[in-house]
Structure formats: C-alpha cells, structure tokens
Amino acid sequence: MTVSFFILAALTIAGTVAAMSLRNLVHCVLALTLGFAGLAALYLQLGAQFVGFTQILVYVGAVAILAMFAIMMTQRAGAVAQPVFTPSRMPGWIAGGMIASAVFAVLAWAIHSSAALPKTLPPQALPSQADAGVRAIGNALMHRFVLPLEIMGLLLTAALIGAVLVAMQEQQEMP
C-alpha cells in the first residue's frame, strides 16, 4: 500500500463519512465534494485520466451544485439544523449501521477469500502511446460501444426533459 494511495483513500472515506453524518446539509455536500475529488484522484492513480477528469466535471461541477440548489430551495430560511444523533432515532441508526457493516463484512470476506483475485500481481502495463487513452476511448465509443452511446444520449435527453417537467410548477398554482 503506497503512501499516496493511503492518503487519497483516507481523504475519500473521511469526506464521504462526513457527508453522511454531518448535521448541516450544506456541510454535507461540501464534504461530499471532497470525497468525490479524492475518488477522482484515485481514478487518476489507476491511470484512468479521462474518467478522473469526467468525475470532477460531472460530480463536483454538476451533481454537487445541483444538490446545493435543491437544498437551497427546500430549506426554510433561518431553519436550525436538527441534530442527527438523537436518542429517539438511535434504533434506526443501530439498524442501518448494522446492515451496512454486515454488507461490508460480507464484501471484505469475499475479497479476501476469493481465489480468482490476483492479490499480489502488479497491474498490467498500459498501452503507452502519447495519445492512447483518449483516442482509444473515442474509437471504442464510435465502434464497439456505439449502441450504448446512442442509448445514453437518448437517456440523457429523456432525463433532461423529465427533470424539467417534474420540477416545473403547475400553472394553476401560480399566485
């Protein structure tokens, strides 16, 4: 485990834990962006430059901002943030935490006991031409994965129109 990997993993985990446990919603989203940025750095470390930058562009630049807008529109001005850990909600926290830890335990056990995983093998050498990454991705998108790409375009268009329609106020409700 190299030092940079450890730092990035710790940053990601800390950001996401804070995002899921802080009291103030805006703080949650700010911590979440930290987690997303750490994750993007992990992608970069895996050699996936394109996906890493896309992650920052989409998650930090769009999803986090969208969540901020949603928070701003749904929170009442001057509302005091409710405490997250209260005695009355303890059963929920314990149950949720137990389910999540059980899932994590199963996953970790599966990872550790799997015979198919090459545990100590070094990563495969990447094809290292100057422009390999982006050009190869483009070629794959235009040849082998052209149908998924088209479906994705359709899906994004549908989501764009759908989100506007769902969030739009009905005309008769106007003051």
Partner: protein
C-alpha cells in the same frame, strides 16, 4: 540564434535542474515550471487592473488613477498595501471554515487551469492527453468556491449573488464547451500541445489558425462571449451587479480575502483567454510566416493582452443584461448556434477543399445566426409578469 532566444526559459530550466540531486529532480522540475506561472500571472493581474481603470476612465471621459508613480502605474502596489493592512472582518453569523476556504479554493482552481496552457514552444507545465477536459473540470470547481463564499457569509445579498453566479456559470459552461468541440474535432486531440501544433504552419505568409475558417471564427466569437459570462464580466456581471446587490457573493469579504477574490476572478479571465488563444488563435504561433523570429512566448502574451484589451473595451461599452435576457441568450441563441457550428465543422471536414466548402460553411453559420437573432427580437411582446420562485 532566434531558436536560442525562443527556448531560453527551457534551457535555463534544464541548466538549473542540473544542480539538483537525482532524487528530488521530479519535484524540482515541477517547482521550476510552476513558480514562474505563480509569479508572472499575478504580475499581469497587477498591470491589468491599472490598465483597465485607465482604459475605462478614457472611455468614460475622465482620468483614471494618475497619482501614484509615473502616470499612476504604481497604483497596484498601493492597492496591495491597502488590502494587506485592512482589517479582516468576518460576519458574526458566518460559517467560519467555509468563509475562510472559499477564496483559497477559488484562487487554487484558477491557478490549476494554467497547468495545461502552452505559453510558448515546449513551455507547458503538464502535457496531458485530456488537457482540454482538465481545463473545463478545473473551471467547474470555481462554481463551488463561489457557492461557498455566498452561502458562508450568511447574507442575503451574497446568497443572491452566488445563486445568480452559479446559474449563469452553469448555463454558459455548456456553450463554452460546445464551442471548443469544433477545434477538438479538427485537431483530433484533447491535448493542448497537439492543438497548437495543428495550427503551426503557413500557406504563403498566412497562418493555419482555426479562427480563419467559418466554423472557427463563429466558434471563437461564441467562445469569447461564453468566456465573458464565465468570468462574470460586464455585460454579464449580474452576480456582482453593484447597483442591485452591491457586490454579490463577496460582499462580506474584506482585506486580503477580497483581494484574493479579485485575483481569482482576473486569473480565471486570463485562463479562459489563454484557452481561446490556444484553441483558435494558434497559441504561441506567429501571425505571419516572416515574423517567426520573434520568440513564441512574446506572441502568446501579445495575444493575451489584445484579448484583455477587448474585454476592457466591452466592459466600458455595453450595459448590463437582465436575468431573463441572460438566460434566454444562453439557451435560445448560444446553445443552438454552437450545435449548428459543430455541424458546420463536420461539413467542412467531409467536403473537398475549394470555394464550395467555404460557401456551404458560411451559409451554415450565417443563416442560423440571422434566424435566431430575428427570433429573439420578435419575442419582445411581454404580457403580464409572472414570478416563479421556490417557497
């Protein structure tokens, strides 16, 4: 000899690198690339502030700053001393951590964008395969900093300013990216170095810049409009709108943090201008083949200063837009224009070279421009105003 002058900074870097022990050489090399950028562009910011104030003064028929130093050119130093010695006021209800981090994040994001700008032959900090994508990814981090500043101040004016700024930046990021897609198509690469290299070359004395094609010219104009909006400059300066919301998202900042916001904003403007130069104006390439003896970095900065002068001129000339005009301009004019421009670039690519190609592409760019402009003109008939807001 011109080659030596052209490469003098690269040679200097290699000479200095020779003194470092082998272990720290990668770090030392990165440091040698980054430090000049950290020095040069803030200096350019200082010069630009005084040039802008003097230029605006001339446009508005008054003198600009003319007291400090010769012709007022030491004004930035006085401003710097003032902002360093001013009291740093933080509102009592402010969210202190976010309030403190916002200007730092803004400046850091603005500086990161320079990593992929080739400011001269062989002079780029990081030649990434996905350089253009990196640039836009870093640019989207600015929105987060703006939101943090606006929200953490706990002031209605700053929150309004931040919301306006984010809505505007998200809306204009779409045409900004789509306008640069034509260049990526033509150059066949996302690497900024490869894009500049695709434009180095001359037919007779004329250069092969992308701006000298119909789609390239349209793309350049659209890119510059979107860049003006991205950097929150007049006529798109609603987020700051001094007459409406005083100073927008950084109203609650004072002293050095305010100066950092200013710095970040100007650095963002320089970075997007530099990107426009890289994408459309041939980067560091000379405009005529007989001028190639002038070093490459001189050309880059000459182009940058020209674009900055254009920004100042626009700021002194045009009035501020209204919010609905801003949004309808982005979504009803800029977005269709950029999409059609991509189509025009595709037509250009697949038609044989000749006059027919020029005519077809010019028609593909000019006709929608006229139609969309007319369309926007005709919807001036406004009925009863209806307000939409979140409860």
């Amino acid at each position: 000899m011109p080659a030596t002058v052209d490469q003098i900074f690269v040679i200097c870097k290699h000479w200095l690198l020779g003194f470092a022990p082998a272990g720290v050489q990668p770090i030392f090399s990165a440091l040698l690339s980054v430090v000049p950028i950290l020095v040069v562009f803030p200096l350019l910011f200082a010069i630009t502030t005084v040039l802008e104030r003097k230029g605006l003064g001339r446009i508005q028929n008054r003198y600009g700053p003319n007291r400090v130093g010769p012709c007022g050119f030491f004004q930035p130093i006085a401003d710097g001393i003032k902002s360093l010695t001013k009291e740093d006021v933080v509102p009592a209800t402010a969210d202190r951590v976010a309030h403190f981090l916002a200007p730092l994040l803004l400046v850091a994001a603005a500086f990161l964008a320079y990593a992929v700008l080739p400011i001269g032959r062989n002079m780029v900090v990081a030649n990434l395969n996905a350089g253009v994508l990196f640039f836009f990814a870093v640019g989207s981090m600015v929105e987060l900093a703006v939101f943090m500043a606006g929200w953490a101040s706990r002031s209605k004016y700053s929150l309004l300013g931040a919301m306006r700024a984010i809505a505007q930046m998200i809306s204009y990021e779409v045409p900004l990216v789509l306008a640069s897609v034509v260049v990526i198509m033509a150059a066949g690469s996302l690497s900024t170095v490869a894009i500049v290299n695709a434009q180095v070359g001359y037919t007779g004395i004329w250069p092969h810049w992308f701006v000298f094609t119909p789609w390239g010219f349209a793309g350049f104009v659209l890119f510059m409009i979107a860049a003006t909006a991205e950097s929150n400059r007049s006529p798109f300066d609603l987020p700051e709108g001094e007459s409406e919301i005083i100073a927008g998202y950084y109203i609650e900042y004072s002293g050095f943090k305010f100066a950092l916001f200013f710095l970040g904003e100007y650095l963002g403007m320089f970075a997007t201008s530099g990107m426009a130069i890289t994408l459309f104006l041939g980067g560091w390439a000379a405009p005529f083949s007989f001028l190639t003896w002038i070093p490459s970095y001189v050309w880059f900065f000459a182009k940058l200063l020209t674009l900055i002068a254009g920004f100042i001129w626009i700021r002194g000339t045009l009035p501020r837009l209204r919010m609905d005009q801003l949004m309808s301009f982005a979504w009803k004019f800029m977005l269709p224009m950029t999409l059609l421009n991509i189509f025009a670039a595709g037509v250009w690519h697949f038609m044989p070279a000749g006059y027919a190609r020029w005519l077809a592409c010019i028609a593909l760019v000019v006709a929608p421009f006229l139609l969309l402009g007319r369309g926007l003109q005709q919807e001036k008939k406004s009925g009863i105003r209806s307000y939409r807001f979140a409860e």
